[in-house]
């Protein structure tokens, strides 16, 4: 990297390189857009990589339980940015009565997210997916690779992954169903917000404090809780995150639960 680049330039440069390399290797490729800040940043990076027009489809997995503000944001910017938007829904599961927030978390996530994506991948024969996950987001994501193969059942064998030393990526994979590509893996939450500020990116209003509450991470409505916050501007959010000692996904019920469960199992002797 050039010494003239600042930190955000370096991050952007690396991400653009990964996105272009991915498109070069896989013509049957798509990018996932959850309408959150990370994937919206990713969409911006994809647009920049191809001079304003993304040459592959953008998939939104719709569980039917997103915030109204997320649907408004999606529809507005899909049109403005001329995205080839595919909305993936597991309509068959919905018809069976599977509903987000009812029953166990696994069934709704598995049916309405994983299976919806599986159906979409099969229908369009996608061989690669670009996702906006980051290493600092969650413990398990720290083990991810930039080019991450998945087997036929969508399984990720995290103990058997290609090494990515010195930024050398194994971008070709002939024995896997599909490859996931993570151009934001090296970004942090603060990096994303600083980039949003620099690029003046539109971002969902749910992230900004209203009546002392804001969402730090967006998911499905029944499983996402706001945090106490007065940060109603990007600058204030950046300052808040720098001081924060809680995890970004603390508002997501599944993550919080796992931490409590682990704590309790330790009391019984589990390591």
């Amino acid at each position: 990297m050039s010494n003239n680049m600042n930190h955000l330039d370096e991050l952007e440069n690396k991400s653009v390189y990964i996105i272009r390399e991915a498109y070069n290797q896989f013509k049957k490729i798509a990018v996932l857009w959850s309408i959150g800040k990370d994937s919206t940043t990713l969409i911006q990076l994809c647009r920049k990589s191809f001079f304003g027009h993304i040459p592959f489809p953008v998939i939104h997995i719709d569980t039917g339980a997103k915030f109204e503000e997320m649907y408004e944001f999606r529809d507005k910017y899909a049109k403005e940015w001329k995205l080839n938007l595919i909305i993936a829904m597991n309509k068959e599961a919905m018809a069976r009565g599977v509903k987000c927030g009812e029953g166990d978390g696994f069934t709704c996530c598995n049916e309405l997210k994983t299976n919806a994506l599986k159906q979409c991948m099969a229908k369009h024969d996608f061989k690669a997916l670009i996702l906006g996950i980051r290493r600092d987001e969650h413990g398990i994501r720290a083990k991810e690779r930039v080019f991450s193969p998945r087997d036929q059942k969508f399984n990720w064998d995290y103990k058997n992954q290609p090494p990515e030393l010195w930024n050398q990526y194994r971008s070709i994979s002939d024995d896997q169903t599909h490859v996931r590509i993570h151009p934001l893996l090296h970004w942090t939450e603060v990096d994303v917000w600083k980039y949003i500020k620099r690029e003046n990116l539109p971002i969902n209003k749910l992230y900004f404090a209203k009546n002392g509450l804001r969402y730090r991470s967006l998911g499905c409505k029944p499983n996402t809780k706001p945090i106490k916050s007065d940060a109603d501007t990007v600058d204030k959010i950046i300052e808040e995150i720098k001081k924060s000692k809680s995890s970004e996904r603390a508002g997501r019920s599944q993550d919080k639960e796992a931490a409590y469960v682990m704590q309790r199992l330790r009391k019984l002797g589990y390591m």
Partner: protein
């Protein structure tokens, strides 16, 4: 059909204390009852998983609640369970508090278990019995499925922490009262445990360290002899996978 799981229930407590357990005394005199001597290791997660998936541990590869320092979730267990298969065949099924993972798994029913599914305080241990029983009793009429599976998990924690003590007998008395409320809810009822219990130092396998990381001393550990009580159940459970195989055969699905 109704399957009631009692995690860690053992004849070694029930039979010597039968006069304090009127429901068990009555149903044992009226219905088939026998011991399931496990051939697989008596690890709860693994046995419940075998019971409802029909897979041996080497097939489902789900041995414990925690793997490599991480709490396992439904997503980590790569099998279809009986409820998945029956649902695909349009047979109504509910599964309540199935402890092959923690928090225990629910299917087609909502339940928020006390203590995140690892009840440890006396209040949490007692609350689990009440809440599971109330939930079972509330499933009536049109919401009652063709197969309903429910598991009381806190007996296992009680037995680890209070084996040999009077408080464990008192807990069995509470379980006995709960069984009294639910045993007549269906014509076909199967009561099962996933393993038995014994004194920690006499247990053939130690599933947990005697002194836990927080300084608790465990008094009991798992024994491979589990219990079964069967009311009008058309199959015999010799090993955990027989539950799955028996249900597949009974409901005539593949």
């Amino acid at each position: 059909m109704f399957i009631i799981g009692l995690d860690g229930a053992t004849w070694d407590i029930i039979k010597p204390n039968i006069d304090k357990l009127p429901t068990f005394k009555k149903i044992l005199s009226q219905h088939d009852n026998y011991t399931i001597s496990l051939q697989q290791k008596p690890w709860s997660a693994s046995v419940w998983c075998s019971m409802f998936s029909g897979k041996l541990p080497e097939e489902h590869n789900h041995l414990d609640f925690v793997k490599d320092g991480e709490v396992q979730t439904r997503n980590d267990v790569k099998v279809d369970f009986i409820w998945d298969i029956l649902s695909r065949n349009n047979i109504s099924v509910k599964a309540l508090n199935i402890p092959f993972i923690v928090p225990p798994y629910n299917y087609n029913i909502y339940f928020n278990p006390p203590g995140y599914g690892v009840p440890l305080t006396q209040e949490e241990l007692n609350t689990e019995i009440t809440e599971i029983t109330n939930k079972i009793v509330s499933v009536t009429g049109d919401s009652k499925p063709e197969l309903f599976i429910a598991v009381y998990t806190a007996l296992d924690k009680m037995s680890h922490l209070h084996w040999g003590g009077e408080s464990l007998i008192d807990y069995y008395i509470k379980i006995d009262k709960a069984v009294n409320k639910i045993f007549e809810l269906d014509e076909k009822v199967l009561i099962l445990s996933d393993h038995g219990f014994t004194d920690y130092d006499k247990a053939p396998v130690q599933t947990l360290p005697k002194i836990t990381s927080t300084g608790n001393e465990l008094k009991g550990d798992h024994h491979p002899d589990a219990i079964a009580i069967a009311k009008n159940i058309p199959f015999k459970v010799n090993q955990p996978i027989d539950v799955f195989n028996g249900l597949i055969s009974y409901f005539n699905v593949k």
